[in-house]
């Protein structure tokens, strides 16, 4: 057994996303999911018929309906929707117990069974990812009360919830206030979220509004655009930090450190910290009044 440690590699361009949408029942999560780009909805929840704008759907009654899914099956689609992740896990649970009754007790999974559930669900997500499609995981919301506050969580069983948090590039919750549905990606004290797109709270258009037809497609496109902009900023930041790391090795006095001050300030916190660390190694301290580094004065004994 060995842990292989490698250097961090170049950031890569984001071409596909895993997006988690969660919210209370009845708010139109499936309808929202159907506004993704050319979607195929895997209907584990048997509720797609309620969607106002139903598109291509496969009803899943048994895990074998999806276990053998292939790239050819998904070729006409750009987005795969798992509706809901919680119900998909229930169906997978039944499959695990059917295949190995020792992994279940009274309809529930044993510890080993949970291990298999997590492992097979992770493999399923990886399989979907391998097709290069955007994946939207729909989940119900679990509300827990803490004093006066309602804590909102994904309603997904066991350790598989962890796999969803890990797999999620973006995570938003669908809420309703004063009759207006909103999609919120930023986390709060009471709710999880992942907002790499830096999106403000989004008003979800009414079902009859033409803007609704492509709403989620547009949201996912915005997130990808922002992530790819971040990738570019990341490349620049990495290059600047590398420059400082290599340059500072050869700096040996206060003049050398001070000549890099402006560039380090422009380079951000990490570059400033690297400069400060090198200055400290050289026995220098920052003189606030002079605005530069100078030799540290030895205190009298």
């Amino acid at each position: 057994m060995a842990l292989k440690i490698t250097r961090a590699s170049d950031p890569i361009t984001v071409e596909r996303l895993n997006t988690v949408i969660y919210g209370p029942p009845g708010l139109g999560k499936s309808s929202l999911a159907f506004t993704a780009d050319t979607p195929l909805l895997l209907d584990f929840d048997n509720g797609s018929h309620r969607a106002a704008n139903r598109k291509d759907t496969v009803r899943i009654a048994d895990w074998s309906d999806v276990a053998g899914i292939t790239a050819d099956d998904l070729a006409p689609f750009n987005t795969v929707i798992v509706d809901t992740a919680g119900r998909a896990l229930d169906i997978l649970t039944a499959d695990i117990i059917r295949a190995n009754p020792k992994h279940g007790r009274g309809g529930a999974l044993t510890l080993q069974g949970y291990g298999e559930l997590k492992s097979r669900f992770t493999s399923f997500l990886k399989l979907l990812n391998s097709f290069g499609k955007d994946v939207v995981l729909i989940a119900h919301m679990d509300e827990q009360r803490n004093g006066d506050e309602l804590i909102e969580r994904l309603d997904v069983q066991g350790g598989s919830k962890g796999e969803i948090y890990k797999a999620a590039d973006a995570m938003g919750r669908l809420v309703i206030a004063n009759g207006q549905r909103r999609l919120l990606f930023s986390p709060t004290d009471a709710a999880f979220g992942k907002n790499p797109g830096q999106l403000p709270p989004l008003d979800v258009p009414n079902f009859s509004d033409p803007a609704f037809d492509t709403f989620l497609a547009s949201v996912i496109a915005q997130i990808k655009e922002r992530l790819n902009a971040l990738t570019e900023e990341q490349r620049e930041a990495v290059a600047e930090q590398k420059w400082f790391r290599e340059t500072l090795e050869h700096v040996s006095d206060a003049d050398g450190i001070n000549s890099l001050l402006d560039r380090a300030t422009a380079g951000g916190t990490v570059c400033k910290a690297m400069l400060h660390k090198r200055a400290t190694e050289l026995g220098l301290a920052f003189d606030k009044s002079a605005g530069e580094y100078a030799a540290q004065h030895q205190e009298a004994a």
């Binding site: 950031p11 350790g159 890990k166 900023e233 990341q234 620049e236 930090q241 916190t269 990490v270 910290a273």
Partner: protein
């Protein structure tokens, strides 16, 4: 006043405390003050510190075990990509409070933190304020946890599971969240830790 991010997280957990089981005793103000002001690492924390120490110095290549601080870690078959800038500390002022935190690694606008734990519980990490402060302190956009589940197989010897990666991102309002929590912590510290200049 100076405060570590970890102490602000301890304060946040204390404010939002909920019992894990019926009858669990609620921590008192004194408990929190003691946590903040007295260095009493548990066995799990000591093991975590040792693992971090080993990982900080780890060179590229394959490692069967890590050894540090008298602990030995049996490593899994896995691959771990690590930035070259390791163990970096940053400071930022929030009103009258200067907050400081040290992360395990930084690469561009990505901050990396290693965690050792007995059980993988992503909600605990996502729920916390540490990642938010670290992004704010370092001006970074992405936070990545490498979470290692470790299990003691004999005294001071741990078997390490493959790292599980969890990410979080900067979002609008992140700085305001940090500033607000820092202000609450400062009020608390001024009232309950008045003799300390450094709540570290």
């Amino acid at each position: 006043m100076l405060a570590r991010v970890s102490n602000i997280e301890a304060y946040r957990q204390w404010v939002n405390w909920t019992p894990l089981f019926d009858g669990q005793e609620e921590p008192t103000v004194e408990d929190l003050v003691r946590f903040i002001t007295v260095d009493e690492p548990s066995e799990a924390m000591k093991a975590g510190t040792a693992f971090h120490a080993a990982l900080e110095l780890a060179q590229d290549g394959e490692h069967d075990t890590f050894e540090a601080n008298g602990y030995r870690f049996i490593l899994p078959d896995a691959e771990l990509s690590l930035p070259s800038i390791r163990e970096m500390r940053a400071y930022r002022k929030y009103g009258g409070l200067t907050v400081t935190g040290q992360v395990d690694a930084v690469e561009g606008k990505l901050v990396v933190d290693h965690k050792t734990t007995g059980r993988f519980d992503p909600e605990r990490y996502l729920d916390g304020c540490q990642w938010k402060f670290y992004l704010d302190l370092f001006g970074a956009d992405e936070f990545r946890w490498n979470i290692f589940v470790i299990k003691e197989v004999e005294p001071q010897v741990y078997r390490v599971s493959p790292p599980q990666t969890l990410t979080a991102y900067r979002y609008p309002g992140l700085h305001d969240y940090c500033a607000n929590l820092a202000a609450q912590y400062l009020d608390f510290a001024c009232e309950h830790i008045p003799s300390r200049k450094e709540a570290a």
